[in-house]
């Protein structure tokens, strides 16, 4: 009996202690002591080199914590960072189910100093995260500061950003005259002609990956910046647009993006049987030149490269659409660094230093195949060779206007088009109709325009 009592007492004591510890950290967090330093003021290598701080960071990249990781690991980045800032120690915690767990940890409050900002409401940003400064000052140093912009303040700096084009097999496309990086197709017409030119050499000039579904939804990501060159199109103009799927007549716009797919299928330039496409197998097929190209984000490039023996044949071309003589690509931000607003001021300063170092000096974005982030950095990884050679401009989507953050979601749901939001079915239908030849492309677009304007009416959206 006695030892049981002793155990109980010990347990109670531990619990009380841990409670006290929680309370303690809370007090420390809620001190309201916020650093005065702004992102733009920090000069790397000169300021705060003797600052002492122990930081904790949460990341989704658990693979980079592993010694076996083929790229550069977190440990290697930190080693480099500590050469310049020996007294700022960063402890990195990997979280496997990041998008869910990070939200829970954020609400719990005790999560450390730096995290990748999960999907929070923008109006809540300032309660959780430190501002890096106003957007003008940050934009002078960071190319894509818009992702977590609220009230003119920047709360997140992207860890990397990716462009969008078409992954293709260079060797196969040589037959279509694409003999060097500048000769990639520039218009939908050139693209279709190129597909025709390689038709006999491949099983499928363009592999649709119809059956996987999400690979179809990927087409939606090309109708904004790639098709308009307009940073405000997706989040600001689309919701108010009258007939956004109508033919603008100049070979650009959403209409011509989807028409490329319809034409390719109708003219037999895609796989023979779309209903049994095989996503995992397609990687090897493009590697071996059985498939000419696939319309997917830049993330797919390393996967196609490593899926077979012919990695060097894989290339990534800008989307074949030219607006006013120029090609565009979106710069889609990955997760962004957010700094805990309730950390002690010294930790916040140290965190700002670390984020700035990651952005400007670490080479993280380059190593991971992303776009350069710091203003003045024009060092693109090889996946964007064709983009650089053709002077493609990278633009990030501007955020929605204030009070309209949910408008696009609303219209997407009501119209059931779900543009860039898992609306895979509608694109699959394009292929079905093109293949069965039972509905013309113009009729499909007319239908979509109707759905869109019905939804606009339902939600009382002003059409401009």
């Amino acid at each position: 009996m006695k030892w049981q009592k002793a155990m109980a007492a010990a347990l109670a004591a531990t619990m009380a202690l841990s409670l006290a510890a929680c309370g303690g950290s809370d007090k420390k967090g809620g001190s309201g002591d916020v650093t005065e330093v702004k992102y733009a003021d920090i000069k790397l290598g000169e300021d705060y080199t003797d600052l002492k701080a122990d930081l904790k960071m949460m990341t989704n990249r658990t693979d980079m914590l592993d010694e076996e990781y083929t790229g550069k690991t977190w440990a290697q980045y930190l080693e480099e960072f500590n050469k310049e800032y020996p007294d700022i120690k960063v402890e990195i915690e990997g979280i496997t189910d990041y998008s869910e767990d990070s939200l829970l940890r954020l609400q719990g409050g005790d999560w450390g100093d730096i995290m990748m900002i999960p999907e929070v409401d923008k109006s809540d940003l300032s309660t959780y995260f430190l501002s890096y400064g106003d957007v003008e000052s940050v934009a002078e140093q960071v190319k894509y500061p818009n992702r977590w912009l609220y009230d003119g303040e920047v709360y997140g700096i992207p860890i990397t950003a990716v462009g969008r084009g078409i992954v293709y097999n260079k060797k196969v496309f040589e037959a279509a005259g694409v003999t060097d990086v500048t000769k990639t197709p520039k218009t939908p017409e050139e693209f279709i002609n190129a597909l025709k030119a390689i038709k006999d050499k491949t099983e499928a000039p363009l592999y649709t990956n119809y059956a996987a579904g999400w690979t179809m939804g990927a087409w939606d990501d090309y109708i904004a910046i790639t098709a308009t060159g307009d940073a405000a199109f997706k989040n600001q103009k689309l919701a108010h647009a009258k007939d956004p799927f109508a033919d603008p007549g100049d070979g650009t716009g959403a209409y011509n993006v989807y028409k490329m797919l319809y034409d390719a299928v109708e003219q037999g330039l895609t796989e023979e049987d779309f209903s049994t496409t095989d996503w995992e197998g397609s990687k090897n097929m493009i590697n071996e030149g059985k498939v000419g190209c696939m319309v997917l984000g830049a993330w797919s490039y390393p996967q196609m490269k490593t899926a077979g023996a012919n990695g060097d044949d894989i290339g990534y071309m800008p989307f074949p659409m030219t607006i006013g003589g120029k090609q565009y690509s979106p710069a889609d931000e990955d997760y962004c660094f957010g700094i805990n607003v309730s950390s002690p001021a010294d930790n916040q300063t140290a965190a700002l230093v670390f984020v700035k170092w990651m952005t400007e000096k670490s080479g993280y974005s380059f190593n991971e195949g992303g776009l350069p982030l710091a203003v003045g950095d024009e060092n693109y990884p090889e996946v964007y060779d064709e983009f650089v050679a053709n002077n493609v401009e990278f633009i990030a989507n501007e955020p929605a206007a204030e009070g309209e953050e949910d408008l696009l979601n609303e219209l997407n749901a009501d119209s059931e088009l779900m543009i860039a939001a898992n609306g895979n079915d509608k694109i699959q239908e394009i292929i079905e109709h093109a293949s069965n030849k039972d509905k013309s492309f113009d009729d499909i677009m007319k239908e979509w325009n109707q759905k869109w304007s019905d939804a606009q009416e339902m939600d009382g959206v002003e059409v401009k």
């Binding site: 059956a211 579904g213 049987d273 049994t276 949910d406 749901a413 059931e416 895979n424 699959q428 293949s435």
Partner: protein
Amino acid sequence: MGTNTAAVAGKKTFGQWLKSRKGQQTVIIIAFIIIPLLLLFTFTYLPFAEMVKFSFYKMKYVGARKFVGLDNYRALFARKDIVSSLKLCLYYMVGALIQIALALYLATILSMKVKASGLFKGLIFFPYLINGIAIGFIFKFFYTRGFVFDTVLQWCGFQLDSLPYWLKDQSINNWSLVGSSVWRYCGQQMVLFIGAIMSVDDTLYEAADLDGANKFQQFKYIILPSIKTIVTLNIILSITGSLSAFEAPFVITDGANGTGTFFVVMNTIAHTNQKVGLASAMAVFLLCIIFICTILQKLFFKFAFRNMHADDESRSAKKKRVKAAAAQPAAAVKGGR
């Protein structure tokens, strides 16, 4: 005596009644029944009532809800995609009937004296043990142009060019999917039938053999009447199951290319388009259809099996008996059972 105790009980106080044997009985009954009832209520009826309520709103999972009355139900009938998805159930119903016939046939054969019947039972039951996702992959490859199915048919002398695209061709792809679901569930149903057939008394077969009945007659007059309850149950389950067919189209074709059944469409509307109100209305509507189907089937089987108890009695004789029995109500109850 009964009235006497009742009168006494009426004068008892509540406390006394509680302590009495009858009171204790009631307390225990209520105490025991309240837990399952409470569970049933909280986890079945309450969510269902909520869902019915949702069907009158325009709402997403999060955010504001707007009461729209019967709009969702109107949309249900106005939308072509929903109505046409309901028609796909017919494919699965036909499939279900074929499946039952096949299962019953195999069960009957395998419960007679067959060599290696255990092996065959195992082989036929095996598909049921594979999980649904794996089946999706199996059949995607099975139906791919020039793969398994086409190869087998080519062995049988078919030309590849004359074969259809099993999943691409909209006139045939639903049959392909139904085929996969028959393949999967046939074995399970067969095992159920075998179980029921084994409970038939062996002496009946011996007697039938002596009387010179062949195997088909044995099936018709001994097996079928003995297992009619389980056959009925299986038919009802299969038909209602085919109204809610989901796994095959969802895993194999993702509901695309004209294979989206009612459930697949409902899933898209609820989860991709976030129209929770409309999806709830669809669920309520489907429930009503299932109710109606079940009742109709019940009535049908009552009609179909009305003679089963009086096998050796001719129909006219039975009529006469019933007529006669009508005069004597007690006898009618016994005869009609």
